[in-house]
């Protein structure tokens, strides 16, 4: 009996020797994105593009001929085409497919590229419009970082530093109406956000971050990445929360990419952070 009790006591004490805590899984191993070989960025060189009609640009009414400034193809099959509207570049975004040097841009038209030429050449043909051939600097996207791909928005966590205490809320996806309501309901009345939602974030090997919206427009920023710290500046004024140039971090948790942007709202003393929980696109 004594031995039984003694052994039972020891067995009862054994669990006390061990304790464990659950930790997050920081793995960041993802399958390579599908269009990694197509990814690259074109920034148009100054000078007049050549129209397919052989007419000079000056002979065509300015409003009828888009002035393209920027084209980028991401690792996950998202394109961005920038064209001048007034003095600023506006970006259009969507999905693309590639057949050799010819890229078919869903909702836009086609772009034929020649990256072996110096400088690189592009022929842009919008659906129903005239072709333009132009020269551009070309930056082929690298493929050395798992961050370089498109990411869909699972969740957005917004924190606003207001009157008294920071308030945080989670949103499914990233719907601007929900975000605006949150800001207005929490002491920040009058903050306007555009309608629609953020569809995806692309971090490219050509040093761009592309925010693609539900209306197929986009905002583009240039970034530098140092470890997990990312510093970015908008190519044109962003509509994303009217966020001024800011700092961001990239981390990985439970098979997701966590992109946290801390910035101030333009024209406001309010600062805050937006954290995106991102799922990888193929």
């Amino acid at each position: 009996m004594k031995k039984i009790l003694f052994v039972a006591t020891l067995v009862a004490l054994l669990p006390l020797l061990f304790s464990c805590e659950k930790a997050g899984n920081n793995d960041n191993v993802f399958k390579n994105p599908t269009f990694i070989h197509c990814a690259g960025q074109f920034i148009m060189l100054d000078g007049s593009p050549t129209l397919s009609s052989a007419a000079s640009v000056k002979a065509v009414p300015q409003a009828a001929v888009p002035v393209y400034t920027y084209v980028e193809f991401t690792e996950s099959g998202i394109y961005v085409v920038g064209s001048l509207e007034g003095s600023e570049t506006q970006y259009k975004s969507g999905n693309y497919t590639a057949d050799g040097n010819v890229y078919t841009l869903n909702g836009f038209g086609t772009v034929e590229v020649n990256v072996t030429a110096t400088p690189a050449k592009l022929t842009i043909t919008p659906t129903g419009g005239a072709s333009q051939t132009m020269t551009a600097t070309y930056k082929k996207a690298g493929s050395t970082n798992v961050a370089y791909r498109g990411w869909t928005i699972d969740k957005t966590r917004a924190t606003v530093y207001g009157f008294h205490t920071p308030i945080t809320a989670d949103f499914v996806g990233c719907n601007f109406n929900d975000m605006a309501k949150f800001l207005n309901d929490n002491g920040h009345k009058g903050i306007y956000l555009p309608s629609g939602s953020l569809k995806s974030v692309s971090i490219t090997g050509a040093d761009s971050i592309i925010f693609s919206y539900s209306d197929n427009t986009a905002d583009v920023a240039e970034y530098t990445l140092n470890g997990s710290n990312l510093t970015f500046s908008w190519r044109t004024p962003s509509r994303l929360l009217e966020v001024e140039n800011g700092k961001a971090t990239i981390d990985y948790l439970d098979g997701k990419c966590i992109l946290k942007i801390e910035a101030a709202l333009k024209g406001s003393t309010t600062s805050g952070s937006v954290t995106f929980v991102l799922s990888p696109m193929e």
Binding site: F6, T9, H164, I167, A169, D185, N186, D254
Partner: protein, 249 residues
């Protein structure tokens, strides 16, 4: 924590060496209540002067009180609103204790430890503004928010252990034997658990949906300083307990 446990096991092994044949030759079971919660215990002799007691206690909130002047900011109006903080006993731990009887009477010293959950008081903040049902506070990447205007919070202290597994050393005195000399015995004990400075903890949702307990500090919510002020008097938890033991064999 491991060292302490090993020390306890070593003590359990060493006492019998000096105690002749009266080791684990009896067993008793007891029920009790007190400021260490409702509990059940078993006890066995480790010689004629020492009993070892193992048990488990759970606080059911039967003793509770309310901090009526606890307030939180209402984000919608940028003014503070009254959100009473209701607190009750919330222990959920095991205990390994040694009663040392210097004489033949039931007077004894007790040493040992309470081990398990670091929570000792459970509570909830009530009447919270509606904004806290959809928004909350971010604590180390975890979103803590209310449900139906209430937020469950715990007062937790680790003792010499961790939040996941607290170890709270106990010393005290008492009267009555844990292993009755006859069929039953009654025991009363008074002592204190060292539990360290307590903190306020609540469940939060991580970015990827992971739920975890997080400690809310003043940097997260200024008003928590009121609870911290209250908690600093609880570094030692006064333990007054009453037990009824029945000798099994």
């Amino acid at each position: 924590m491991k060292k302490f446990t090993i020390l306890c096991v070593a003590a359990a092994l060493l006492f019998p060496a000096h105690a002749g044949a009266q080791v684990f030759n009896h067993l008793s079971a007891g029920i009790g209540f007190g400021t260490d919660a409702l509990n059940i215990q078993i006890a066995a002799p480790l010689g004629s002067h020492v009993d070892v007691i193992a048990g488990y206690g759970i606080g059911l909130g039967v003793i509770n009180f309310t901090v009526k002047d606890f307030t939180l900011p209402d984000p919608a109006s940028s003014s503070n609103v009254n959100t009473p903080l209701k607190l009750g006993m919330g222990m959920n731990d095991g205990r390994l204790l040694f009663n040392i009887y210097p004489g033949k009477s039931g007077f004894h010293f007790t040493v040992g430890a309470y081990m398990g959950s670091s929570r000792f008081i459970s509570g909830k903040i009530t009447n919270m503004p509606a904004a806290y049902n959809t928004a909350g506070i971010d604590v180390d990447g975890y979103l803590v928010k209310a449900k139906n205007g209430e937020l469950a919070v715990d007062l937790c202290a680790n003792g010499i252990g961790s939040h996941a597994f607290a170890v709270k050393p106990y010393v005290g005195i008492g009267f009555g034997r844990a292993v009755p000399q006859k069929a039953v015995s009654f025991s009363v004990d008074l002592g204190a658990q060292y539990q360290g400075k307590p903190g306020v903890w609540a469940k939060g949702e991580g970015l990827t949906g992971r739920i975890a307990e997080v400690q809310i500090t003043e940097k997260d919510l200024k008003e928590i300083s009121k609870v911290d002020e209250f908690g600093k008097y609880m570094t030692f938890w006064p333990t007054l307990t009453f037990h009824l033991y029945v000798k099994l064999f």
